[in-house]
Amino acid sequence: MLWKLSLTGIKSRFKDYLVLFSGLTFASAIFYMFMTLATNPAFLKGSLSIAFQITQIVFGFGIALLSIITFVYIVYANSFLLSMRQKDYGMYMMLGARTSKIGRLIFTETLVVGLLATLLGTVLGVALTQGVSSILISQLGLQIHKFVGFYLPALLWTIAFFAILFFLAAFWNRHKLVKSNIINLLHEDQKPVKLHRNKLWKFIEALLGIALLGTGYWAMMHAVKLGTKTIPIAFFTIVFGSYFTFDSFFTAIIDLLRKNLAFKYRKLHSFTLGQLKFRLSDYTRILSTVSLLFALALGAITVGLNFNNMTEQAMESTYYDVVLYNHNKKVDNQLKKVSVKSTTNLEYKIIMEGKGKERQRILYIPESQIENNKIMYQHYSRKNDVSHYDTRRITLNDFKNKKSNVAAEGEYQLVSLTPYKDAQVKVVPQVQYNRIKATVNKIELLRVNDFRSNFNNIEKLQKLSVNQMISSPNATKDGINVNLSNSKSAQYRLVSSMTSGFEFMGFFLGLAFLAMLASTLMFKVLSGANSDKPRYQMLWKIGTRKSLLKSSIAKEIGILFALPAALGVVDVLFGLQLFKSILGMNTYDKLWIPFTIFGVLYVIYYFLTVVLYQHIVLQKED
């Protein structure tokens, strides 16, 4: 009989259950996706052979974080479940149902809901992994192959992890129902919250919070100096700093607003402020957690997308896109498929000179070539921890002092353009050049219009030209030392295959974290909805327009969403300093892209929460 009653209870609140159920399903789907990425050897081998170890560390860290978030998430989802059910169960107990029976009922209900959601979630996870990864791979132009959504170990891990969590949740719910009084179950919503706190302590807390946050930010900005100590220092200070800030600073702002009568006595402001004041003391922990997760997720996406910039940087390091050594039919045909922006010619002679051990291949370049042909190169430097390339031209002046750095760089740049990498470069006057008895060689240096978009054709062109050099019968004897790996195409392929993996991971990690943190916040807010219901009904009865109630709800939840987001954004802005100094990339470039993606998703979660909350709290008028 009780089972039947319990099922009717679920039916009558089907929509709320649907939210809970889909939330749990989504959580397990995301967990599965991440486990697959982290443990699937196909993914790792396929794309990240070079950075394999780093990747494993990052993924290990990611899994640990995701487990913690999932745990927190389940705790809040579970409290939402309990808040929906405790009145029903309290009533059954009042009607004489035995405590032990009720205990078994809630235990089973939690476990069944959880396990069903997990099973469905893993199925969804397989499909999602397949779909999302292929979208990401194609959208971001990533170089990842052979990725399959289904991976058994990840599936088993996910199911085991969630089964344990729900088992714990079920025990907790049973414990909570069995131990509490019927009266408390029936009137949970009417218990007042005490709000008397020491004002001096609040003040110290506010100062402490800001000081700790400041220390954490300072540490991240001076990561190079602090070395391995940076992360523990930043982690400790920011965790506690966020907590203190939320516990004191924001309550102080609300108290300040409450003192401003003109503000407080407008429409429902006093009510919204009252709600927030009581909420904040209850929300301190979750808000600080959410702000940290927000920072981690946004940081992951930002850094992930920045790896894309690293490929740009790889392209910047070399000035000429393609170097053509000799022409043949294949090369000429392939050349037609490439849109050439400019061609620069370089002429030289190569001969062996010297005796015994000193005997060396010398590459002669006439001064006129340097003077007239405008040969360019990318000069590397490091300014303020950021790698930087600027375009320079090789001039005759560079070679005036033969022992100078400029001369050495000029010679190096020239020789690396030719297929004789081991030769020594000599820039000589035209008369001297003409006297050298050797064949005249020519190379063509191309700049193209469409390097990224037409990459495959460009790479093929470079390959054909290199192959032609290597396959000439006297290649070894002539000292031809050229292979594809020195070309811009090869560098681009190498870097992009590595960065694609990181980019993919950062993006994925970021989205997974975002989904988890936003739903955690959502469930925390929604689990309070049931106890808020009578308040909104009362406000409606005394003559508050429904539109006003709706806007009050939107404002209240908006502030609860905005506070951790604001702190999270500040965390990220300082946190990026860390990557700037470690990876030497300008992570602040194009910041708006990850911020926009993230913002849009977060706002969607916000609206979803508002709509669901309004649905629970507001009565339908007919």
Binding site: L261, Y265, R266, L548
Partner: protein
Amino acid sequence: MSKVVQVQNITKTYGKKGEKQYQALKGVSFDVERGEFVGIMGASGSGKTTLLNILSTLDQPTTGNVYINGRDITGLNKNQMADFRGQEIGFIFQDFNLLENLTNRENIALPLSLQNVKASEINPKVDKIAKRLGIDHILNKYPAEISGGQKQRVAAARALVHEPAILYGDEPTGALDSKSATELLETMKGLNEKDRVSILMVTHDPYSASYASRILFIKDGKIGKEIKKDGKSREEFYQEIIAELGRR
């Protein structure tokens, strides 16, 4: 004397046409004069809650008209109804319905803020009504920190602060001990006699009802009998109510 409430032959039917229908009100008509204290008595299921919901614009009658302060409230849209409640009606509920996350002062101020009264005018008005009801010393406390009787006074202050046309009481003494109940009823009587506040109180408690000047008995969705105090003492009137209740 002008009429503050006019109820003309209202009916209320629940359930859609063609399905099983239930008629909660079967043609109810009565008036409340300005400055009158009217009690409505009836057993559970007699239709008194439905009647109060309609009178307070929380629900609409199926047929008939209701005029409050001369205005027909049956043709109003949702926003107009909300505004009307906020301006013309004051409520006291059985379970106080105070917002526990607001101080008592903020609770009382709520109807004024909803009507966009200037912030500078709000506190003096709250202070005035709080003094009248003897709760001026607990204004900065939260509802959880005061007694049930004080809570109901705060609720009364909130119901009256915006000077509504009529005060509705829905079993206002239901959750109070007998001493607090008597104090509240004496206060309501005082408000009615000295401050000329019109009161309509729904109750099934004959003691509470004996504070009214006229009582309407509602039974099975219709007004049955009506009795008046007419100069009798409260005790005599109480006996008359008991006798009337015993008759059914």
